[in-house]
Amino acid sequence: MTQLPTSTEKKLGLVIDLDTCVGCHACVVSCKGWNTENYGAPLSDQDAYGSAPVGTFLNRVHSYEIQPDQGPAQLIHFPKSCLHCEDAPCVTVCPTGASYKRVEDGIVLVNESDCIGCGLCAWACPYGARELDQAEGVMKKCTLCVDRIYNENLPEEDRQPACVRTCPAGARHFGDFSDPDSNVSKLTAERGGMDLMPDQGTKPVNKYLPPRPKDTWEDIDILAPLLEPVAENAGGLLGWLDKTLEKL
């Protein structure tokens, strides 16, 4: 069993805006590219050109349809990666100490050299955010790009997770939730940022901004004056035109 820190100096994490995510998978592949080349073992792909291709991804986009009581069905694109929980069950369940939560920023990592690939952490994670790499036999998960966000070999503006840097719609935001004035704290406050499955008691750091209400048009006459006819036919319109132009 592995201990969680009693507190962390920062709470780094993501805000994911479900009102803006178009489900394009840019974050998924950018993550795959960075983390194949960087932290730990490459993210491998089995049967890559075959009948059942399956590879390791640290971030995936799921799509769900919802049917509101009123109005048409909606499609929600839901990107999901490790939420870097404050009470991370994947850490406490780890038999070797390979899974740990960093004291300085709260990032949950796997120390691959200590990982025995037992899979207990993936079983403990209620979000399905960990994947056992089939080639290396170690557990892989989102590192919040710990090798980018402090990386002095990158320009300062690029020191953010690959998924955030690449998101074309700007639906992903990175920052420190322990700072109430950070971009992520403010967005969470303004837009009603939510925990994923709060009943699990994991206290996830990442937050999701809910979709804004959709299809809210109502069959009422509030806008009717805007379409008050000036004419019913072409002749009438020309009469109106004359009067209007005289006034100009």
């Binding site: 960075w34 890559a48 700007g170 006819p229 035109l241």
Partner: protein, 941 residues
């Protein structure tokens, strides 16, 4: 830090070097940073300085590394040794390949250049490939626009001198209401997502008009799940409501459009419906100050929208009056159209009122004086902050041209084009149709063609007909069947060549177009046409040369393969002469350059054409002494001049003092190096006073001339009424010397209305028997057939079920895992189904081009793309169902020839699950073998 917490290297070296070039994972052309380690590609990310993507990058772009290492890459030139379609080839040398090609092509050029049909698919070098084809002398050249979005492009140019995507963009920073009609999500990919992100960040409203609520429509605040093919009727109903309520920008219409131009109203006149013009040919308006006729562009004129005048016994009325006559008609009232478009009348009214409210009550003013083309100075720029975007969804119908025109008319009556908050052109657009070339077909043995192949016609005299009236081009572009086919009809080439209609050809030469698979209608029929033999046992289409970088389905059907490089191994230019990457506030172009060298015996196709062009002695490709003029494409990019001072790239051209910032100038031998130093692109910003009102703004016009975009100022007014269309109608009514065949008169009269109309295509597609519309969409993470060979992307989209709406799902008693037989007037497929509720209730759809032929793309024959994937193409014929008149009616827009992919009507029934999707075609032999089993891809140590 606790002492037992591992030490993580948080500053690892990212790469040895970053090489900046242009993406080609789709047509969007974003800037990319290619991180190199040990000379290999380690990581690809977006270039923050680049005007197109501003640092972001889509899934395809980030997966480029898997495209560059794809096992499907062709490795060497190939000569077919088995029968066509078998995939049996032998490797040959480049010298052998180019000798074969020269031996085939040289005699054609000497005797009859039209025997070569050269079509280049998703080519991004059309100004170069068309130059080559022009030098060869064949009239038979085009790229893929005819089966993509020519309706959008041509309608935009004829109406307002530019269209969406490469021609212009919404004013993302200022618009307050955005309406998006059906799009292929790579047109254009990242800029639309960036723009939607900006709208969402400030809470501006997004309206999605699309039968399918996926992707961009999933985040639309208001979703309008329209009946496919009725967008034009919906838009004209909005026009009806706005005109009826007087919610139109009268000042804009009077000054900047042809709404006040006088039109001949005498039905007996041979000029009925044409403009009243002065002796200089200028359209006439009535000046409200004098009540007299004046040229539309006369200094100080105040054009009258409502004037009437009688001259030489003929009554002339304004275009505006004709619009009032047409669009105030009750047939366009919301109540009258609601059932057809599938949108309640109240909702149409609601949308019209929102457009009116935002355009007029929330108008923007920018304190920026500007001077118009009549010399009048305005102290402000007034913005109507409603913006629109559309692409293939409204375009790929047989009523698509008029629908796209209707959308532009809606934008224009709201005064929302080229104003703050509305739609903005990107240089070198706006550019009126008259400033484009006309199409040319003058082919003679041993000669170059007499001008550019493609262009814009302005009446029957510009059609490409032979002396006997038959089509001059193999695709029948610019004929009475589709007079305004500005991009050609690539989808008709194989069918017409096989039928010998209008004539037989010898060699079909194609580049980057998967015409034996997802890029053709009637895929099975195309296989037969490509392999069919005559009474002597010779192929009916005698020779096929194909260039591709990958082992696509088309490879197997060619006789000679000229292997291309991947996009990171080549030179390219994204040229202002071609399909540029400009922004509304900047003129820009870009390059690709070999950030890695090929590890195979392949060559960039354009470099191959430089060599082949020299072997054939084509004008423009040889020096005076007959030697090869351009060693390769990079040499051409640097040294070719299309006009004095204007070449493929505008950046860093030379003047007396050395390299300029950009624009006109002499050849700079170091130009490509300058681009590489600058991150692969060049951009120069439009001056502040020239940012808006570009078609009419003197400052913009002068700036455009200084940059070499035009040779002289080209101000013009928008064409709500497209007079050239009326000229085709007049011919159909019997006027003039050049007359259409009788069987087309009625259709020309009906469809070529100079004001936008809507007509149904349902009868032509037998909607009474086949009541469901079947559509395709391209996923954001996959670019047509290219993506499937990509080990990462195929894990995202490895299968494509047919998505079925709730009503049809329940009617058929479908359950997850079921299969359905889908039948159209042309064919039948049996495919997996999946339920989708957020879908128009009479529409089914699937992802485009996920289905693959066994043996192609270096995939296992049991790949899900081949066993469960499928194409709707089997259900779509290039011809309409027979009408009983014995004629071949093309399944295309009768105005432009655009392939009417989205008019497909089907019926659906539950089927016993077959072992794999039907039709199941036999495998083709892979010329590249199969990919490796597993990947653990890491370049660095």
């Amino acid at each position: 830090m606790p002492k037992d917490q591992p030490i993580v290297d948080t500053s690892p070296k990212v790469s040895d070097e970053v090489r900046k070039t242009t993406c080609y994972m789709c047509a969007c052309r974003c800037g990319i940073n290619v991180h190199m380690k040990d000379g290999k590609v380690a990581y690809i990310e977006g270039n923050k300085d680049h005007p197109v993507n501003q640092g972001v990058l889509c899934a395809k772009g980030s997966a480029g590394i898997m495209q560059v290492n794809a096992p499907s890459r062709l490795k060497a030139p190939l000569k077919r040794v088995g029968p066509r379609g078998s995939g049996e080839f032998e490797k040959i040398t480049w010298e052998e390949a180019l000798t074969i090609a020269t031996d085939w092509l040289a005699p054609l050029r000497k005797t009859n250049p039209e025997k070569l049909a050269f079509f280049t698919g998703r080519d991004q070098s059309q100004s170069f490939t068309s130059f080559w084809a022009q030098g060869f002398g064949t009239p038979n050249y085009a790229a893929h626009g005819g089966f993509c979005s020519v309706n959008m492009a041509a309608a935009g140019i004829y109406t307002m001198g530019g269209a969406f995507w490469e021609f212009g963009q919404p004013d993302w920073d200022r618009t307050k209401m955005f309406m998006l009609f059906g799009v292929a999500e790579d047109h254009d990919s990242n800029p639309i997502k960036i723009g939607l992100g900006k709208l969402k960040a400030r809470g501006a409203k997004v309206y999605g008009v699309n039968p399918i609520r996926s992707g961009y429509n999933a985040i639309a605040d208001e979703w309008i799940g329209i009946t496919p093919g009725t967008d034009g009727l919906f838009i004209l109903s909005l026009v009806h409501e706005l005109m009826k309520a007087g919610k139109i920008d009268l000042d804009y219409l009077a000054r900047l459009t042809n709404a006040p131009v006088m039109v001949n109203g005498d039905e007996k006149s041979p000029e009925f419906g044409l403009f009243l013009r002065d002796k200089n040919g200028k359209p006439q308006v009535i000046d409200r100050k004098t009540g007299k006729l004046a040229a539309f562009d006369k200094k100080g004129v105040q054009p009258d929208l409502g004037g009437t005048i009688r001259k030489a016994g003929i009554t002339y009325r304004t275009v505006f009056q004709l619009m009032a006559d047409k669009y105030l008609d009750p047939q366009y009232a919301p109540e009258a159209v609601a059932d057809k478009v599938g949108i309640p009348a109240r909702r149409i009214q609601h949308i019209a009122s929102e457009l009116a409210r935002v355009a007029f009550d929330e108008a923007i003013e920018i304190d920026q004086p500007w001077t118009d083309f009549r010399g009048e100075t305005h102290d402000k720029m007034i913005g109507r902050p409603v913006a629109f975007h559309a692409m293939r969804g409204i375009s790929a119908h047989a009523n698509g041209f008029q629908t796209c025109r209707a959308l532009h008319v809606l934008q224009i009556i709201l005064g929302s084009v080229e104003v703050p908050g509305g739609f903005r052109f990107k240089p070198p657009y706006p550019k009126p149709p008259e400033a484009h070339p006309k199409p040319h077909c003058g082919a003679k043995p041993d000669c170059a063609l007499d001008g550019p192949h493609l262009g814009f016609v302005h009446g029957p005299d510009d059609l490409l007909l032979k002396e006997d009236g038959s089509p001059a081009r193999i695709d029948k572009a610019f004929t009475w069947e589709n007079p305004m086919s500005a991009h050609g009809l690539m989808h008709m080439v194989i069918s017409n060549a096989h039928a010998g209609d209008p004539y037989k050809i010898d060699t079909l030469f194609m580049y980057m177009a998967n015409m034996s698979w997802n890029s053709s209608m009637n895929t099975g029929g195309v296989h037969q046409m490509l392999t069919d033999t005559d009474e002597n046992g010779d192929y009916v289409i005698p020779r096929i040369i194909y260039s591709d970088a990958y082992s696509s389905e088309m490879v197997a059907y060619a006789d000679l393969i000229l292997p291309d490089t991947t996009y990171l191994e080549r030179h390219d230019c994204i040229s202002l002469l071609d399909r540029p990457i400009c922004e509304a506030d900047g003129v820009a172009d870009a390059i690709r350059w070999p950030v890695i060298e090929p590890d195979r015996d392949v060559r960039g196709f354009q470099s191959t054409l430089c060599d082949l062009g020299a072997r054939l002695g084509l004008p423009g490709f040889v020096n005076d002494d007959g030697s090869q003029k351009y060693a390769d494409y990079a040499d051409y990019i640097t040294n070719h001049q299309r006009r004095p001072g204007v070449g493929p790239l505008a950046g860093w051209r030379m003047n007396e003092d050395g390299p300029t910032g950009g624009g006109r100038g002499d050849v700079n031998p170091d130009q490509i190096d300058k681009y590489i130093e600058n991150g692969g692109f060049w951009i120069e910003h439009v001056p502040d006073e020239a940012q808006f009102y570009k078609p009419w703004n003197q400052a913009y016009q002068d700036w455009a001339v200084s940059k070499g975009l035009f040779d002289s100022p080209q101000p013009y007014i928008f064409s709500l009424y497209v007079e050239p269309m009326r000229k085709f109608q007049l011919a159909a009514e019997g006027h003039g010397d050049r007359q259409p065949p009788d069987h087309l008169r009625e259709r020309i009269g009906k469809t070529m209305d100079p004001l936008p109309i809507w007509y149904s295509n349902e009868d032509d597609n037998k909607a009474d028997e086949f009541p469901i519309t079947a559509l395709t969409q391209r996923p954001m993470a996959m670019y047509h057939s290219w993506g499937t060979q990509n080990a990462w992307l195929r894990q995202i989209h490895g299968q494509n079920p047919l998505f079925v709406p709730t009503k049809i799902w329940e009617e058929n008693g479908f359950a997850e895992g079921d299969w359905a037989r889908v039948t159209s007037p042309h064919g039948e497929i049996t495919v997996p189904v999946a339920h989708m509720a957020a879908l128009n209730e009479n529409t089914v759809w699937t992802w485009n081009a996920i289905g693959k032929r066994k043996g192609a793309w270096a995939l296992d024959e049991n790949a899900p793309e081949a066993t469960k994937g499928f194409l709707l193409n089997h259900l779509i014929h290039e011809l309409l169902p027979p009408k009983g008149d014995g004629l071949r009616w093309s399944n295309s827009d009768p105005i432009t020839g655009q392939a009417a992919w989205f008019d497909l009507k089907v019926r659906i029934a539950k089927a016993d699950p077959p072992s794999e999707s039907l039709p199941a075609l036999p495998p083709i032999k892979s010329p590249v073998g199969q990919g490796p089993k597993n990947l653990t891809w890491k370049v660095g140590k």
